[in-house]
Amino acid sequence: MAERSQPSANYRGWPVLTALTIVSLPLLLMYVYLFLDTVTVKPPDALLPSGLTLNHWRFLWQTTAGKANIWHVTLNTLLFSACTTSLVLLVSSMAGYVLSRLNVPARGFFLAGVMVLHAFPSVTLIIAIFIVLQMIGLYNSLIGVILVKAAIDLPLGIWLMKGFYDTVPWEIEMAGVVDGASRFRVWRSLVLPQVKPGIMALGLFSFLSGWGEFILPQVLAPGNQVQVLSVYLAGFLADDNNYDFNMFKAVGLFYLIPVLIVYALFNKYLMNIYGGGSKG
C-alpha cells in the first residue's frame, strides 16, 4: 500500500520496480564494471574479477610514448571548461538582465533570435567555423575553441538567466531606484544576489558541458599541446598499437570522476537545465 503522498492508493509497486530495474540493467552493468575493471585483474573469458591491482592507473605517473602527458591534458581541460564557464556566465548574466528588464531597441527581436538559436543545431556550423579559425589564425589554440564553445552555449545561458531574472520581484529594483542607485548598481548589488541559483545552475551546466565536449576540440584544436581529455581518450581508443582496455577505462574513470562528484553534489540545480535546455 502506498502512502498518502502517492497519486494512487490501490496499487502495487513491485512490478514497476522490477521492470525498471531490468531496462536499467545495461546502464548499471556498464558503470559498475567501469569502476571494477580499473582496479582489478580479470582473466579474458571470465565475468568476474579475480584480484586487485593498481597497474591500470600507471598513466598517472608514466607517459605513454607518442601521447601527451595526462596532467598537462587535464590542465588544458580544466582551463578550457573554466574559461568557457566564466565567459558564458559573464555574458549571459548581463544579456539576460537586459532582455528581462531594460528597454533596449529591438528587444523582442533579439529575444526571438536567442530562442531560435537555442533550438538551432549549432554543430552544423563547425565546417565554416573551422575555415574561419584557420583564416584568422586561431586554429589549434585553446582561445579559439573557448570562444566558439562559449558562443554555442550562449543562447541557452541567456534564455535561462532571463527566466531567472523574470522571477525577481520588481519592487526590489524600484526600491533601489527610489533610493537613488543607478540601474547598474541596482543590478550589481540587488538583483544579482537574487538569481544565485540560476548562476549556479548555468555555471555547473556550462562546466560539465565544456568538460565533456569532444567534437569542437577534436576539429579545432587537435594538437598535442592543446589537447583536452576527450580528444586524448579518443586518440587512445583509435590507437591499435598499445591496446589495453582496462587502462582506457582507468583514463575514462579519471575523466568521469569530477563529473560524478559535481552531479552528486548539485543535481538539484542541474535538473531544470537538463529538463529543457541542453541538446542531445
Binding site: 502517492q6 556498464m30 565475468l47 531594460l102 529575444l111 565546417i127 543535481n267 541542453s278
Partner: protein, 433 residues
C-alpha cells in the same frame, strides 16, 4: 533620462558580438563556402596561376598544339637575359650585338637559339654558347604568376599565339585557388551515396525519436510517477548518467559491452557461442546499437519534461478516477496522456533538430560503418569536409551538405517559435527611465 537604454546596449553588446561572430557569420559563410570548390588542394586563401604538368594534361584535350609548345622551354632575347649575359664576363661585343640585332626575337628550340648565337660576329666557343643560351631560357612551366595579367603577358612575351578564349581556358586550368561554382549542389542531388545517407538520416531520426526520446521517455516518466519518491529519484539519476557522462567515455562503455572481447561476447561464450563484434558485424546490429546509444542519452530529457508536467496534474483527478474504479491503464489513457500533448510536441520538435545534427555518438561508435550503413547526413558532412581517408578534404562540398542542415534548422526553429508562441514572454519593463 535614457540611462537604462545606454546601459542596456552596453550590457548586451558582448552577447550580440559573440552571436554575430559565431552564429550569424558562420551561417552566411557556410552558404558562401558551399558555392565554392574549396578543398585542401586549393587552399582557403587565394591561389596563383601555375602551368603544372597536370594542368597541361587538361589543356591537351582542348588545344593539343599549344599544350605541347608550353611543355617545351622557349628562348627569348629580352632585357633581363642581356643583362645576365653582360654579367657573365665574356667579350662585351657579344651582348652588344645581341641587343642591337636580335632583341625581342623568340626561338622555339634550343638548337635555333644556339645556331643564332654561333653566328654572332664574336664567334663564342661552344661552352660559351651553351652559357649564353641558358640566360634566355624562358619556360612557362612551373612558374608561379600572381595574377591573370602576369600570366597572359608572359605567354605573349614568349610568342604563344592565343585567342582571348584560349587565354581564358589556360587561366582556368592553371589556377590553383578555389573558384565559384554550383557543382556541389548538383553532385549532392545526383549522387546515389547521398540518397543512401539521406535515407539513413530519416530512419535514424525517426527510430530514435519514436522509440526513445518520446516513447521510452514517456514510459520512464509514467513508471517513476507511480513510484515512491526515493526509488523514483534513484532511477531518474541512473537515466541521467548517459547525458552527463562525457560522450567519449559513454561510447567507450558501449564498445566494452559489444566488442568481440566485450561483455556480451563473454556472456554468450558461456552458452557456447563464439565471440564476435556485436557492434559492427552486421548492419542490423550496428543500427540496433546506434539507436540504443543515442536513445539512452535522448530519453532523459523527455523523462524530465514529462515528469514535471505530470507533477503539475492535480492529484484530485487521480483520486476521483480511482473512486470511480478506473484501472491503471485508464488513468494513463484518460488523465495523463491528454495532458501531455504540449510537452510531447515540445520534446518532439526540440529533439528532431538535435538528432538531425548530432553525429558525435555515431562517429565514435561505428564511424558510419559497417560500409556506410550508419552514415547519417551530419556525419557525412563532417567526413567530407574535415576527416576522410583520401586526405583531400572537400570544404566546399561539406559546406553545401551542412547548408542543407542549416536551412532545415533555421526553418524549423522559426516554425517552433510560431507554434510555441514565445511572443507572450516579452513583457514590457515596468521602470521607464
Amino acid at each position: 533620462m535614457k540611462t537604462s537604454r545606454t546601459l542596456g546596449l552596453v550590457m548586451i553588446a558582448p552577447a550580440a558580438v559573440m552571436i554575430v561572430l559565431f552564429f550569424l557569420m558562420p551561417v552566411v559563410l557556410t552558404a558562401v563556402f558551399s558555392m565554392t570548390n574549396m578543398t585542401t588542394a586549393t587552399g582557403i586563401s587565394g591561389g596563383v596561376y601555375q602551368i603544372a604538368p597536370n594542368s597541361l594534361i587538361t589543356l591537351k584535350s582542348a588545344m593539343p598544339e599549344i599544350a605541347a609548345e608550353m611543355a617545351e622551354p622557349r628562348y627569348t632575347i629580352d632585357e633581363a637575359g642581356l643583362k645576365a649575359v653582360e654579367g657573365l664576363g665574356l667579350a662585351p661585343a657579344i651582348a652588344a650585338e645581341l641587343r642591337a640585332k636580335h632583341a625581342g626575337e623568340i626561338f622555339a628550340t634550343r638548337r635555333e637559339v644556339e645556331r643564332m648565337i654561333k653566328d654572332l660576329a664574336e664567334r663564342p666557343s661552344t661552352r660559351e654558347v651553351k652559357h649564353i643560351s641558358e640566360q634566355f631560357n624562358r619556360s612557362v612551366l612551373n612558374t608561379r604568376f600572381d595574377s591573370k595579367e602576369q600570366l597572359f603577358s608572359s605567354l605573349d612575351g614568349l610568342g604563344f599565339k592565343l585567342t582571348p578564349e584560349q587565354k581564358e581556358t589556360v587561366a582556368k586550368t592553371t589556377y590553383t585557388g578555389w573558384t565559384w561554382t554550383t557543382d556541389n549542389f548538383s553532385r549532392m542531388a545526383s549522387s546515389p551515396d547521398m540518397a543512401r545517407v539521406l535515407f539513413n538520416t530519416v530512419l535514424y531520426v525517426a527510430l530514435v525519436l519514436m522509440l526513445f526520446n518520446v516513447g521510452y521517455a514517456l514510459l520512464l516518466a509514467i513508471w517513476t510517477h507511480y513510484m515512491p519518491p526515493t526509488p523514483a529519484s534513484i532511477f531518474r539519476g541512473i537515466w541521467l548518467l548517459p547525458r552527463i557522462t562525457p560522450v567519449v567515455i559513454y561510447v567507450m562503455l558501449w564498445k566494452w559491452l559489444a566488442w568481440d572481447s566485450g561483455f556480451i561476447s563473454i556472456l554468450m561464450g558461456k552458452f557456447g557461442y563464439p565471440p564476435k563484434n556485436y557492434l559492427l558485424d552486421t548492419a542490423y546490429n550496428a543500427w540496433f546499437f546506434v539507436v540504443l546509444i543515442n536513445g539512452f542519452i535522448g530519453a532523459s530529457m523527455g523523462m524530465l519534461v514529462f515528469s514535471s508536467a505530470m507533477k503539475a496534474i492535480p492529484k484530485s483527478q487521480f483520486y476521483a478516477s480511482e473512486v470511480d474504479g478506473a484501472s491503471r491503464w485508464q488513468q494513463i489513457r484518460y488523465i495523463i496522456l491528454p495532458q501531455m500533448r504540449w510537452p510531447i510536441l515540445f520534446v518532439t520538435c526540440y529533439q528532431t533538430l538535435s538528432l538531425l545534427a548530432s553525429f558525435n555518438e555515431i562517429l565514435l561508435a561505428t564511424n558510419g560503418g559497417p560500409g556506410n550503413a550508419t552514415e547519417v547526413w551530419a556525419l557525412s558532412a563532417y567526413h567530407t569536409a574535415l576527416r576522410n581517408y583520401a586526405g583531400n578534404l572537400e570544404y566546399g562540398l561539406g559546406a553545401a551538405m551542412a547548408l542543407v542542415l542549416v536551412v532545415i534548422g533555421v526553418v524549423l526553429s522559426l516554425l517552433y517559435l510560431r507554434v510555441f508562441n514565445y511572443g507572450t514572454l516579452v513583457a514590457k519593463p515596468l521602470i521607464e527611465d
